[in-house]
């Protein structure tokens, strides 16, 4: 499995490139946003800006203020203080305009059980001045055969896709996807990720709210880590991970024994450890490429290559002091 790493690296390159191309005008700009519910400060002095064409992740444990921040951003809640500009518009003053250019995917279940997929889509379609074609959209989302099915009869993944379809039916400039893969099985989650990548290809800016590390790491150009209503870090997933751990770990089984110095001599490598048949290399930068290349020139093939992919998770733990899977305990 040497290939995945190179794919990931290329993925990052493409993102960086796209970022540079689009880094002209912010699709969403939030400054010093604050929102309280009585005593509870849900969002406290949050500022960030999302570039057009970007997939921007908002990551944090449940109750961190992610959803509140996003709801203020799209005008569903009015902030106590701070400013929000969405494609230059104020979501409070220009609510209708804003809702025409923002597609929102809320958590599943927000639809009447006995309406049919087609009926729901046609109704939502009628709300927008320049809507997408129902046939095309359902085709792209794998719902084409489901138009006559009632919402109640859909599987979790299908409901999620319908919810995404509703977010896209008005041809939005920005799509806000709130916890879209929560509750999905791994296969459906992977499909959803492919879907998000596809939405971006249409030129839609995406704000992705999630508490899954892996999701943010895979999809997002940049991630804002929110905890206790504040942004604790904002960077690319790779940089966040590097900040927390200072490195990557690659583990593999060599086809033949080799001299450790072959690897320890590389600038990327920090440590080489042996464990039975397996070798674990810790380092930074283009670690995997460097290791595989060095082995290759020595005539050694790396089998069963594994990467430590929990990097962003480490960053999360380090920066928030919370473990993302123990949200309940963390508060």
């Amino acid at each position: 499995m040497g290939i995945p790493q190179s794919t990931v690296d290329r993925g990052f390159d493409v993102r960086a490139d796209r970022l540079q191309r689009a880094a002209t005008r912010p699709a969403l700009e939030i400054e010093h946003l604050r929102k309280t519910y009585g005593e509870l400060v849900a969002v406290d002095d949050v500022s960030f800006s999302v570039t057009e064409g970007e997939i921007f992740g908002i990551l944090g444990p449940n109750g961190a203020g992610k959803t509140t921040a996003v709801e203020c951003a799209i005008g569903l809640r009015s902030p106590d203080s701070g400013t929000v500009r969405l494609m230059g518009l104020d979501p409070q003053a220009d609510r209708d305009r804003v809702h025409e250019i923002v597609g929102v995917q809320l958590q599943a279940g927000a639809l009447p059980a006995k309406l049919r997929v087609g009926e729901i889509l046609h109704m939502y379609r009628s709300f927008y001045p320049d809507p997408a074609d129902v046939g095309e959209l359902t085709e792209a989302l794998g719902l084409a055969g489901k138009l006559k099915d009632s919402y109640k009869s859909l599987s979790g993944g299908q409901r999620q896709r319908l919810s995404v379809a509703l977010a896209l039916i008005g041809r939005p400039k920005i799509a806000v996807l709130d916890e879209m893969t929560t509750g999905l099985d791994p296969q459906a989650r992977r499909d959803a990720w492919a879907l998000i990548a596809g939405i971006r290809e249409r030129g839609v800016t995406i704000v992705l709210v999630t508490h899954f590390m892996e999701e943010a790491e895979r999809l997002c150009d940049r991630v804002a880590l929110i905890d206790g209503g504040r942004i604790v870090a904002l960077d690319t997933p790779a940089s966040l991970a590097a900040r927390a751990r200072g490195g990557t770990t690659v583990r593999f089984e060599p086809s033949a024994p080799f001299d450790d110095r072959l690897l320890t001599g590389l600038p990327e490598v920090r440590r080489v450890e042996h464990e039975g048949q397996h070798v674990t290399v810790t380092g930074t930068g283009e670690l995997v490429n460097a290791v595989i290349l060095a082995l290759h020139t020595a005539g050694v093939t790396a089998h069963d290559v594994r990467l430590d992919s929990s990097n962003l998770e480490d960053a999360f733990v380090k920066l928030t002091g919370n473990h993302p899977d123990q949200e309940g305990a963390a508060r």
Binding site: L89, D96, R97, H99, A110, P112, E119, Y124
Partner: protein, 259 residues
Amino acid sequence: MSSLSLSLPRPARRAAFGQVVLNEARLTRRQPASLIGGIVFPVVLLVIFSAIPAFHLPAADLGGLTPLEVYVPILIVLSLGLLTLFGLPMPLTTYRELGVLRRLSATPVPPWWLLAAQGVVQLCVAVAGIVLLLVTSITVYGVPVPKNPGALTFSIALTAAALFPMGLLIASVARTATGASVIGRLVLFPMIFFAGMWWPRELMPGVLQGISDFTPLGAAVDAMQDSVQGQFPPAAPLLVLVAYALVFGFLAKRFFRWE
């Protein structure tokens, strides 16, 4: 780019509202509780009552009317009561529970469209129920044609205006659809008692009749009975209905919760 500038042109907006109404109508057909309460139940009661021979005989203590004639307005308010106090709040509470209202507020159309659409659908069901009730009572059971149809329509409209905000208020107070149905029952049963469902107003002791005059359904039956007999109803019951409409309209506006 003011908040009032709607980029959806007016005809398209009307069409969009039509879509919302259409889907509410479909839901009403697929979950026919309000069709049963608003149309079937009152007509079934009419059929049962007319099977009782005494219901066809004019009674002196009913002012020379037959019990069946007395019951037609009562069944009309029963239909209206069931539609506004059950048919309306149940789906609205469910929508709030599910987040349907919230989802709609993230689109360019306002969420009150859903309330309005529900109102339109329930109104259509009410009209269908009342027309069926009147036509059946007149053609099948020989109840006289209402002598002042204009006044009757006016009284019915006023009754609906008094009951509609009550339904909205129930939808605001109740957290769940089950809660809404419990509250609806608690509110409707005493009201329908004072409308004369079990004991026509004409036969109630003075005190009960006095109370009945000030209940929305009691006033409604009073006004409708007069209209059926040919007179325009006196001010008292109409003012009672107007007062309920205003007070509950204010309360519903004040307390309706979208989330």
